[in-house]
């Protein structure tokens, strides 16, 4: 199934989606009219308080797509069009207002409905100079405004909700129909949408909305087709998929998360609505748990629900079958995940995954088990963005390489091998930051298992004979010897100076480290001979596993062996901190 077809199906299942011909827009104010056209009141519809007042989302006649032309909306628009008033200094405002007035006067000619008559009289008598406080507040400028009859407004009926207005809108909307062609979403004949409605809410895209399907430049058209004819999608299908996508992209819709620079939208397609909701909350928690900032006013029954969800998730993470944890979700629930990345006024699809929810859960469990290392990272099950930050310069979210994040997410969702560039990205970060934490070690281990198809140990494995692993362990022991000899307040340990070259070119570096270790150990021996013996035993145990004939200190290590180096280093180093009960000397910093 294609992206558009799945979205169109999702539209049909949305409980409160805008009907055909309407769209959800942010409306700030409503102008309330008396029957004779005079203004009764101006009401602020925005929520919130103080400076951060957010406009309300309402369903109004479909917004017309305008880029640089003048095209008024019907029965609503921003104040530049409706009232001829704008905050900045714009030469076009006069023309915009004139276009709005002319369009409506033409449409409302001969109407007898009370509300529409009031609107007509208002437009005939309105002058932009009339915009003065206190009736017209300053903050109303450049907001979207709608109209209502004063008597209707008290019952929450707006002008465009009146039956006469709806009839006018429906007639006007179907006025310019293009020739019917086969729609590639539905397979039936229908008028082709020339321009598809805008998608709003994608992070990083234009504020006015971006387009998923667009052909605005010459290089994008084929066979002499113009605009929408390049890909015939019927008006109904275009409306359906954009309405569904806009709904999913709304803030706090429960259907979107941000991964890197991609706005990821997900939805479930099941005949049982409850199962679909449950699948969606599971998925959101898969990728985001651990950082969910609980709103303070969460209700008691919602709290119980989130607790239950947490328990179910921990069971899934431990490897239990989905059939045992949530049997309704095992089959019959199709789950779709769509990653959208911005590219100026267009949206590109980073990845699209569509499969049974059971398969998705299995892939997620594989991801969790591949990443598991002992000792685990500080937070028990880090969310995905925490891992992504490990590949970003300075750990900042804006430095996450976007292509890599997209490919990695696609690999996680579909259970495919991870991209090899992920390995080089992680190794570069380790070398630059000089730190191998549990998250990095987890990524390295997962890469080894998935991409290089090797075995990689979860916890310290004293029998593993892999060159890279042994060298990593040895490096950790040398570092520990230095710390034991010189204290932990050294300005630059051998890890800071030599990690990069030790992991890439062991043959050059390890003889130096060995000589240095001999000196460190002799100093340690003078203070605490027992500790020296333990360290030497450990070095001996590691070197025991190395065979002289197998080139234990190669001239260079391949990328996957460098990953094992990092893993071995992490395991051995943390073994020192864990074994604090074994040290016989007092006062040793653990």
């Amino acid at each position: 199934m294609s992206v558009l077809a799945s979205l169109a199906r999702a539209y049909e299942r949305l409980p409160d989606a805008p009907p055909f011909g309407f769209s959800s827009e942010k409306i700030g104010f409503v102008i309330s009219l008396n029957e004779d056209g005079s203004v009764a009141s101006v009401t602020d519809l925005r929520g919130g308080s103080g400076k951060k007042r957010t406009p309300e989302l309402r369903q109004v006649p479909q917004a017309v797509k305008r880029a640089s032309g003048i095209a008024p909306n019907t029965f609503w628009d921003k104040t530049a069009y409706v009232l001829g008033v704008t905050a900045g200094d714009d030469k076009r405002t006069g023309r915009e207002h004139a276009a709005f007035v002319q369009r409506h006067l033409e449409m409302l000619e001969g109407t007898e409905d009370a509300g529409l008559l009031a609107l007509r009289r208002f437009l005939e008598s309105w002058r932009p100079e009339h915009f003065v406080p206190p009736l017209w507040p300053e903050e109303m400028k450049d907001q979207n405004v709608i109209f209502a009859l004063e008597s209707d407004r008290l019952q929450k009926i707006m002008l465009h909700d009146r039956p006469a207005a709806k009839a006018l809108w429906a007639r006007g909307a179907g006025a310019d129909e293009s020739a019917a062609q086969i729609c590639l979403v539905s397979g039936t004949r229908g008028p082709v949408a020339r321009l598809h409605p805008s998608i709003k809410g994608v992070w990083g895209a234009q504020q006015a909305g971006a387009a998923l399907v667009s052909f605005n430049l010459g290089a994008f058209t084929s066979y002499g087709h113009e605009q929408g004819d390049n890909a015939p999608v019927s008006e109904a299908a275009a409306f359906a998929y954009t309405a569904a996508l806009n709904r999913f992209l709304e803030k706090d819709s429960g259907h979107r998360i941000q991964i890197g620079d991609a706005s990821v939208v997900f939805w479930a397609d099941a005949s049982d609505l409850e199962a679909a909701d449950q699948a969606e909350s599971f998925f959101a928690a898969f990728l985001q748990e651990g950082d969910a900032a609980q709103p303070l006013d969460v209700k008691a029954d919602e709290k119980a629900a989130t607790e239950k969800l947490k328990i179910q998730l921990s069971r899934i993470r431990n490897g239990e079958q989905l059939a045992d944890v949530a049997p309704k979700l095992e089959s019959g629930v199709r789950f779709c995940v769509l990653g959208l990345a911005p590219n100026a006024a267009r949206l590109s699809i980073r990845f699209y995954f569509e499969d049974e929810f059971g398969t998705l859960t299995k892939n997620y469990q594989k991801f969790v088990s591949d990443m598991r290392v002992e000792p685990p990272p500080r937070e028990p099950s880090p969310p995905l963005w925490r891992y992504l930050r490990e590949i970003a310069v300075l750990g900042k979210a804006e430095n996450i390489p976007p292509n890599l994040a997209g490919e990695w997410t696609r690999a996680i969702l579909s259970g495919a091998p991870y991209p090899r560039t992920l390995l080089s990205a992680v190794l570069t970060r380790i070398r630059a930051d000089g730190e191998v934490n549990a998250l990095c070690a987890g990524i390295l281990k997962a890469l080894l298992i998935r991409t290089f198809k090797r075995e990689a140990p979860v916890a310290l494995d004293t029998e593993n004979r892999n060159k890279g692993y042994l060298l990593g362990r040895l490096f950790a022991v040398y570092e520990q010897a230095q710390v034991a000899a010189l204290g932990s307040k050294v300005n630059a340990t051998i890890k800071d100076k030599f990690y990069g070259s030790a992991s890439a070119q062991p043959r050059k570096v390890f003889p130096l480290l060995d000589k240095g270790a001999v000196n460190h150990l002799s100093k340690v021996g003078k203070q605490s001979p027992g500790r020296r013996v333990n360290l030497e035993k450990l070095i001996g145990a590691i070197m025991d596993l190395m065979e002289p004939g197998e080139d234990p200190f190669p001239a260079s290590l391949a990328a996957d062996e460098q990953a094992l180096f990092g893993l071995g280093y992490h395991h051995q180093r943390n073994a020192f901190f864990a074994k604090s009960t074994d040290t016989t000397e007092a006062g040793e910093p653990a």
Binding site: S2, I182, V185, G218, T221, Y223, A231, N343, E407
Partner: protein, 226 residues
């Protein structure tokens, strides 16, 4: 069904493929499997004459369907035909230039990774076939050319930058087994473009991946939505 006497089977594979969906043409997204029009293009690259018309019967998918996303810098305009004509008439190249730096467009493409297919097809004689044209002759020509690797131009997997390698499967040899994925519905897929009709409309059909094989409806069949 394949016309057994005059049908051919050709194995094609490559590093990448992009059978672009018409609706995702700018930020390209590939269909999951090869389109019949792309298969026809490969066959026509090997052998075609106005006397014959290739008809694709089935496409077998041999490798798992995997995607990868790449970003490329392209330009936003096409070479204008009118300007080129007038330049030809004038005899000089002034004003006929495209500065790529000023026209940059970065476009992402979601392409298939290491695809491999077997195309089952046959050809029919058209109205332009002369008295000396018969199916056997063209079939022999095709078999000979495909066996030798001869082609008019390098066949491609969707877009020209993804070259296709091809190998003829002899009539009595067994077919390589397709992927063992469960059957699924691929949605509406482009069947081909009707170049003869005004406006060059696109024709679609409902593609089903059944045991790794996509059966393509014959031209004129009611399954093709037009």
């Amino acid at each position: 069904m394949t016309n057994v006497s005059y049908g051919i089977r050709l194995k094609v594979w490559g590093e990448h493929a992009c059978f672009t969906r018409p609706e995702m043409k700018v930020e390209r997204v590939s269909y999951d499997v090869m389109t019949p029009s792309a298969a026809r293009g490969i066959l026509e690259a090997i052998h075609w004459k106005p006397a014959i018309r290739w008809v694709v019967d089935a496409i077998h998918v041999l490798e798992p369907i995997r995607f990868q996303s790449i970003r490329r810098n392209e330009v936003g305009s096409k070479a204008p035909a009118g300007k080129i004509k007038s330049a030809l008439k004038r005899g000089d190249l002034e004003d006929l230039s495209l500065l790529a730096d000023e026209d940059r467009q970065q476009r992402a493409s979601t392409v298939l990774v290491k695809p491999a297919y077997v195309i089952e097809a046959h050809f029919e004689l058209t109205a332009k076939a002369g008295p000396e044209d018969n199916e056997g002759k063209h079939l022999d020509i095709f078999n000979r050319r495909a066996a030798r690797g001869q082609c008019f131009h390098q066949p491609c997997l969707g877009t020209r930058e993804f070259a296709a390698y091809f190998e003829l499967i002899p009539p009595d040899a067994p077919l390589p087994s397709p992927i063992a994925e469960p059957s699924r519905d691929l949605g509406f897929m482009l069947w081909d473009i009707d170049h003869r009709a005004p406006g060059r409309p696109s024709l679609f059909f409902r593609a089903m991946l059944d045991q790794g094989v996509v059966r393509i409806p014959a031209p004129g069949s009611p399954e093709i939505r037009r």
